[in-house]
């Protein structure tokens, strides 16, 4: 028990939680935008892979880090365009398209990686984003290391969440996007293009997912390897539900999940870890997430037109 308290009071635990949450926050915001516009984007897992790969590859080939992030975003938007074209104007099944995009984006990444680096056995490294070192702020005890020694990309994730919330709830554009997910006929009747809004949302959202993926290679680790996204995309789908389609709550959910993840790694090293197989600890964040999901999402208001393709003039 005292081990648990030691962990919860340690700086490294909280710093790790925020670090682990960062890619989830980007990708969850991306998914949230798509779903608010009425499109479920199951391409998220693959788009995170392509983001992780494209960002890393660009930097490996000599681009500066921020250009790597931009490359990741562009790659994500490209696959977002594919997803949007198939699901919005063509109105195909969002489930099937999403899974297809995930498989295509994942295998494209692996293929391109092998093509570019046929000989390597251990993944080459790049110099990732360094932790920030802000005067005064970074030296505050406890808060300094937890908040102000993160990388710039973590801060970008938090700013991104704030921006998504602002645009969705405080601007005409956000209103139009939300309306497209509630009742596309209402959007059409007010002279706006449902197709344009939905495609835009999916493309921008996919860009954010890819940035989330690139966090893994450009900030968390310094190389790209297979299976590195490891289901984070699917977690983000659940986080959107957990957050009841609200950016603030979704960020809280991401932090909570990340905290569970940081906790289980540390618990493995306590005496308890000697008694239980480590898989039990690995499982814990998911179990707790499912529990939280059940408790939190029972009264959530799903966008009414989520997963309903819109065809003009059809009733």
């Amino acid at each position: 028990m005292s081990d648990l308290f030691d962990i919860l009071l340690s700086v490294s635990f909280w710093a790790a939680a925020i670090r682990i949450a960062s890619p989830l926050i980007f990708a969850t915001m991306g998914e949230l935008i798509c779903e608010r516009a009425g499109v479920l984007n199951l391409g998220i897992e693959g788009i995170m892979v392509i983001g992780a790969f494209a960002g890393w590859m660009a930097v490996y080939l000599g681009a500066p880090l921020w250009l790597g992030v931009t490359a990741a975003m562009a790659a994500g938007m490209l696959f977002g365009l594919l997803h949007a074209t198939l699901t919005v104007p063509f109105g195909l099944s969002q489930h099937v398209v999403g899974l297809g995009v995930t498989m295509l984006a994942t295998s494209t990444s692996y293929f391109a990686y092998r093509l570019a680096l046929p000989e390597v056995t251990s993944p080459p490294k790049i110099a990732p984003f360094a932790p920030m070192d802000l005067p005064i702020l970074s030296d505050i005890p406890f808060l300094g290391p937890v908040l102000f020694q993160q990388t710039a990309l973590t801060w970008a994730a938090l700013i991104c969440a704030g921006l998504v919330g602002f645009v969705l709830f405080r601007t005409p554009l956000g209103l139009a996007v939300r309306a497209a997910g509630e009742n596309p006929a209402a959007v059409e009747a007010q002279g706006l293009s449902v197709t344009g809004l939905r495609m835009g949302a999916v493309i921008v959202g996919s860009g954010l997912m890819a940035v989330g993926g690139s966090f893994l290679t450009l900030s968390a680790f310094s190389s790209f390897f297979f299976e590195m996204v490891n289901g984070r995309g699917w977690i983000c789908i659940a986080l959107v539900v957990f957050g009841a389609w609200r950016p603030g709550k979704a960020v809280l959910g991401a932090l909570l999940f990340a905290a569970f993840d940081a906790l289980q790694i540390r618990l493995q090293q306590t005496p308890l870890g000697a008694h239980l197989p480590y898989q039990v600890f690995l499982m814990a964040p998911y179990l707790l997430s499912i529990l939280a999901l059940i408790l939190m999402s029972r009264r959530a208001e799903v966008p009414a037109a989520l997963m309903v393709p819109y065809r003009k003039g059809e009733r």
Binding site: T171, P172, L173, A176, R178, E188, G191, G313
Partner: protein
Amino acid sequence: MTDPRDVVMRLDRITKRFGALTAIDAISLTLRRGDVVALLGENGAGKTTLMNILFGHYVADDGRVEVFGQPLPPGNPRAALAAGVGMVHQHFTLADNLTVLDNIRLGTESLFARGTSHAAARARVERLSRDFGLAVHPDARVGSLTVGERQRVEILKALYRDARILILDEPTAVLTPQEAEALFATLRRAIAQGLSILFISHKLHEVMAIADRCVVLRHGKVVGEVATAETSGAELAAMMVGGEIALPEARPATAGAVLMRLDGVTTPDKGAAPGLKRVTLDLRAGEIVGLAGVSGNGQAALADLISGLIVPASGQITLGAPPARWSPREAIRQGIARIPEDRHKTGTIADFTLTENAVLEGYWQPGFSKAGLMDWRAAEGFAEGIIAAYDVRCPGPGARIRLLSGGNMQKLILGRVLEPGPKIILANQPVRGLDVGAIAYVQSRLIAARDGGAAVLLISEDLDEIMGLADVIHVMSEGRLSPGFPRGSKTAAELGLWMAGQGFDHAA
């Protein structure tokens, strides 16, 4: 003639084809400033198609639309709005989870404007609702509003954009008589301010009350244009259907024994839809009980209860024989014929054949299955019998029911439930969306079933239908049931007050 500058909208030989079907055929029409023109026609006459072309939801195959002398680019709702055309759709185009203000503002500002002036938009909405008598709270969630209030939001949407021409598609279909009166008062204010109105309806007395001119459509063609002052309802009706169709008139019936009794039945609310509140109701042999009320006042709960889909939370259902556990199958076993409200959603399975749909309720009964295997030959025979006896126009029993028109689909459902000779008939909106010919057919079948000794419960939002057919009328409001009023003992206005919820407090 009047000044040509007064013309606000001119349609010139508009034609629209869907495949081989010509939905509207060379329709021309002129609307002037302050004019109220009614577009009258049966379902399928092309009214809604024409409206959708005006508003840019469809592109016409031929012809042109001019608004204030300028041609309207086709297929562009934005252009229609900008030209001053506002449309109040029959099926509201509102987002339930957004507020009234958000619904009105949607699309009125540049999408990339930073922030918005909430206060100014709000003040404008409040001023418009005062000026036009459209009381509604700007911050209310649309999902929590009544149907009448939602319609006000739709009208406000158009006024907020400075519409000069209002197009209303069947605006009174969902309103109580009092709400319809309030709507007409709003429209009169709008006319006084110089707006022009195109009013689509098939209710003759409304058209006579508000319109200056009527344009009558039949099978996509204009068959007549008359000033309402110079015509009569009967003349318009004849024009609409192309001849006289007499709606069946139910002769007074002599009621027999009580076949089903609800005794103080209460059911839980279902989301926004109220459940039943201590409802007591008798259904007697040889009697049509009409249930009037604005939709969403507990009719769905009553229909679900009688269909066996829900069980009472308290109170009792009594049938001739005490039912086993109340369930849909028990309801069928007890001889309850169920004509559901939504024939597409709950009445049929669109991609099943006519045969399959015909035996949906009875496939488990001995006639259609043997030792756990379907007897498809018997099922097909049953479907063929219905097709012949009920005049279902279709390619054959093997056709998918999706291909049938609403009227023919309804005839199949009618045959399915009436053929076994039911004791009790639950007819929930049986003629909604049907044309006059099909309405007459369905109603005459219900009357015939009553004369054959069945108890009929007719649920409808159309007061005229209830008053024409029912021997006893009950009104529902917020889950409560009024006492039964014998045929002819209450006027439409009196029933309207009950529909609005007045009278219950004294009665209770």
